[in-house]
């Protein structure tokens, strides 16, 4: 009704604006065609509605009508399995209405639906492919059936020893099985194989770095974190971990560049400011240390995650 009202108001305005009559006629016609498209969608006639919406929507300036039209277009496109139109329209909606709960809700459904369809097609077209097995293993892993998942991952490696990511998954499963108190040798071996198979896997490098850091093996940790940061410039935690490891090994001057990069990437995280303050202080930059201490205090005060359940709303 809102959109219909908008179209009527637009018509009235155009009727009063004689010099632009031709433009107004076009706008009115466009609005009317979109309104018609929406009505068709509401009655389930998507194949008729889509052309009207695709043609009309780019010219609609009324925000409410445009929002309704685009939402209708997404629903219709999904119904007729026109994934391209659905995705394009959804991204447009996301841009025009950021944070809109309905848009986010539809987006969640759409991508979930797309994933399910793709998985189904994969199973139908090539059920014996390693990709199909990998998907099955990942699904099992997400259900907590890690033993079964590991079996499938190992089977994949028998025939495809160089598939990237499989050793990484096995490493993650081994880590979970070990718990943090258990031995991590098996996990470490998998991650080491992973970086041989896929030398670009920044995540595997990061985990290897963390395993070394936990043992206080700073030089090994530094090597892995350096590679992780090099492989993925956006991997902020790799810079933090690198800086922390360098500082822990007494290389405070070397620690500063990665920490400075980290605080640029994550200015709201107290961790980077904290570590940088310590590095500054140890390198004689007392002003820098004071500045970072202040930033750390501000960031910590803003931080709501205290990682404790004492006074226990879920955090």
């Amino acid at each position: 009704m809102i959109a219909g009202g908008a179209v009527r108001n637009l018509s009235l305005l155009c009727a009063a604006a004689l010099p632009g009559a031709a433009v107004c006629a076009q706008i009115t016609a466009t609005g009317a065609s979109v309104q018609q498209g929406i009505q068709l969608v509401e009655t389930g006639r998507c194949t008729e509605a889509l052309p009207l919406l695709e043609r009309g929507l780019p010219h609609v300036t009324d925000k409410a009508l445009r929002y309704r039209g685009e939402m209708a277009e997404v629903r219709c496109a999904m119904a007729v399995d026109d994934q391209q139109v659905a995705a394009d329209t959804l991204f447009r909606l996301q841009r025009e209405s950021p944070g809109d709960p309905e848009v986010l809700y539809i987006q969640t459904h759409m991508f979930s639906d797309l994933a399910m369809r793709a998985a189904r097609v994969l199973q139908e077209k090539d059920p014996t492919s390693y990709q199909a097995h990998r998907l099955e293993a990942e699904s099992l892993e997400s259900q907590g059936k890690e033993d079964q998942a590991a079996t499938i991952y190992r089977d994949i490696l028998k025939d495809h020893p160089n598939v990237p990511g499989i050793h990484y998954r096995l490493g993650q499963i081994a880590l979970a099985e070990a718990g943090d108190a258990g031995p991590t040798d098996a996990a470490q071996a998998e991650f080491e194989k992973e970086v041989v198979v896929d030398p670009t896997n920044a995540s595997a490098e990061f985990v290897l770095g963390e395993l070394a850091r936990r043992k206080g093996d700073w030089s090994v940790a530094i090597d892995h974190f350096t590679r992780a940061a090099h492989l993925d410039a956006g991997f902020s935690e790799a810079y933090l971990a690198l800086g922390m490891s360098l500082a822990a090994s007494g290389r405070f001057a070397d620690a500063k560049p990665p920490l400075q990069h980290y605080v640029q990437l994550e200015p709201d995280d107290p961790s980077g400011h904290y570590q940088l303050a310590i590095a500054d202080a140890h390198t004689g930059d007392q002003a820098g240390a004071r500045r970072e201490m202040a930033l750390q205090a501000e960031a910590a005060a803003r931080s709501k995650t205290m990682d404790t359940t004492q006074g226990h709303p879920v955090q």
């Binding site: 943090d180 359940t309 226990h312």
Partner: protein, 575 residues
């Protein structure tokens, strides 16, 4: 990078990584734990009230309003109030204040050691029953008359009980000027200015009163819970200088102590940088842990931030509770320990000799074991007299209803015993006996050898419950020397003294720290473990300032207590 690898990276983020699982922590049966190791006698054996005579019970006054003090108390002490050479016991209780009117009178308890494993309640005669909502106790001979005095922390005012030497005490708080109005928690006696007199540091928790109480949770019945202290404002703690005439001067401001705001629970005094001045480390809840480095001249600077003990490695304040200090790895530099709450892990801070400390708990079983635990009192000690320092910790979540909201957590939790062997730590709780399988709302923890057998016993208080007295059966397997130090030029309690001993190839040292644990005070005697060695080659005492002299002793006995007095040649058998 693929979306799955990004997901994995998130899954294995640093925070996930440093968190550790305590799977099985609460699952093993007490019987299985008790029987582990096939011991004929448990290392630690609970002494029941009917045997000890300690029938007193802590009353928290738990109320529907959930005032925070209700869930954090209380403390205890081993001390020899009558100087008969046998450790007596003091227990702190709640009491009347603005938020609590006990339905029946409550009192603290002083139990005299009958020297036969039993105790007699002498509170009434002694006159040390407390007069407000009690928290903790610190024992120190502030006037150097050879009689240990009691400082009892309370909300809203604390008490200094002067030991009259005739089995009675006198409340001298007003004259002494140490009432410390506010919510006082732990207290520590130590000589910060090396003038030979014991000064007093008193932890202050948050800005709290009945009017300032904060309600947390829903308002329907059963929906409230004890607040996380982050909802309260931090406050400065107190430092009182001993004037030597029975009075004290509040030097909190001029000393620099008041410059750091904290929510202070535990405190320990020790010389952390080997400069001859006693420093202070304080456990602070949801606020940075202060590390007050003594600059000399009566000045302290809080170096917690740059020393790496104020925050976790990610720059976030943890819930610091109890603390202790000891050179656990015998490298000549005193290390630190802090208990925290669940999902924070406890911190074992190794002194890096450069003014900083490295949290090495993840490199020991301490990190993983304590991931889901909340700790309070703790103390380094050599429970089996093998010459290595071990660690005992009292645990329990602050919130009674935590399990309703977090099924993985428990309000009552077991004690922990970590044993150190050849430089590595082991969780030995399973071997320690059924008492270490018992689930407790433990809070205070004091060490003391109540039966004088050289095996240091443990006293644990529980919130709203009876205390737990644990007799140590493990220390008798090895040889030992018990040592009472009496300062003459330095403070009479010899806080800050360093003792080194040699027995064959075994060379060890131990420092006498001030305070440590949570709300509690300990047997002032040191028990030096010798392992299987049956003689001591020599023992050296380095007295704190202003004396600062070294004395070496030879021809010492073993398996008994002796007294060494500053400046006096030789040793005397202890009473």
């Amino acid at each position: 990078m693929s979306s799955s690898s990004q997901r994995d990276r998130r899954r294995f983020s640093r925070r996930d990584f440093v968190r550790t699982s305590a799977l099985g922590l609460f699952s093993s049966s007490p019987l299985a734990r008790a029987l582990a190791g096939g011991q004929t006698q448990p290392w630690f054996e609970a002494v029941p009230a009917e045997r000890s005579g300690i029938t007193w019970t802590h009353t928290a006054g738990l109320s529907p309003n959930m005032y925070l003090p209700e869930t954090v108390g209380a403390g205890c002490a081993f001390f020899d109030y009558d100087n008969d050479g046998w450790m007596d016991i003091y227990l702190v209780n709640s009491g009347p204040c603005d938020f609590y009117t006990p339905p029946t009178p409550l009192r603290n308890a002083l139990y005299r050691n009958n020297r036969d494993g039993t105790f007699t309640d002498v509170t009434e005669k002694a006159g040390v029953s407390g007069n407000a909502y009690g928290m903790g106790v610190a024992v120190g001979d502030y006037n150097g008359d050879g009689l240990p005095d009691l400082y009892v922390t309370q909300y809203p005012r604390s008490i200094l009980y002067h030991n009259n030497g005739d089995g009675t005490f006198t409340d001298v708080s007003a004259k002494a000027g140490v009432a410390a109005p506010g919510w006082a928690t732990s207290a520590v006696w130590f000589d910060y200015d090396n003038d030979g007199r014991l000064d007093l540091f008193v932890c202050r928790f948050a800005d709290f009163s009945k009017e300032k109480n904060v309600w947390c949770g829903g308002h329907d019945p059963g929906q409230g819970y004890y607040c996380k202290p982050s909802v309260y404002k931090p406050m400065p703690s107190w430092l009182f200088h001993n004037n030597g005439d029975g009075t004290f001067t509040d030097v909190s401001r001029e000393s620099g102590i008041a410059a750091s705001l904290a929510k202070a629970w535990g405190a320990v005094a020790a010389d952390l940088n080997n400069d001859g001045h006693m420093d202070l480390f304080v456990g602070s809840d949801t606020a940075p842990n202060p590390l007050f480095m003594n600059q000399g001249g009566g000045r302290f600077v809080d170096s917690g931030f740059l020393a790496g003990v104020a925050y976790n490695p990610f720059g976030v304040a943890r819930s610091g509770m109890g603390v202790d200090a000891a050179d656990y790895d015998q490298d000549g530099w005193i290390d630190l320990f802090v208990t925290n709450v669940d999902h924070e892990m406890y911190s074992l801070y190794h002194n890096n000799h450069q003014g900083g400390f490295d949290d090495v708990s993840l490199r020991t079983p301490i990190g993983a074991t304590t991931e889901l635990m909340s700790g309070w009192g703790l103390k380094f000690f050599d429970f089996d007299n093998d010459g290595e320092l071990d660690l005992v910790i009292a645990n329990g979540h602050p919130d009674l209803v935590i399990q309703q909201h977090h099924p993985e957590l428990r309000y009552r939790q077991p004690l922990l015993l970590f044993e150190q062997k050849a430089g590595s730590w082991k969780n030995a709780s399973d071997l320690a006996g059924p008492a270490f399988a018992q689930l407790l709302a433990a809070r205070g923890l004091a060490l003391g050898d109540f039966d004088n057998d050289g095996a240091v016993d443990v006293l644990v208080t529980t919130n709203d419950g009876p205390p737990l007295l644990l007799k140590n059966n493990a220390g008798g397997d090895n040889h030992w020397l018990g040592l009472r130090l009496i300062g003459t030029r330095s403070n009479i309690d010899a806080i800050g003294a360093k003792v080194t001993w040699k027995s064959g190839e075994l060379v060890r040292h131990r420092s006498r720290v001030g305070g440590g644990s949570y709300l509690s005070s300990h047997d002032p005697r040191m028990v030096l473990g010798l392992g299987t060695r049956s003689q001591i080659d020599w023992l050296e005492v380095e007295w704190p300032g202003p004396g600062g002299s070294r004395q070496r002793f030879t021809g010492l006995p073993v398996d008994r207590y002796i007294t060494v007095t500053e400046g006096h040649p030789g040793w005397q058998p202890s009473a």
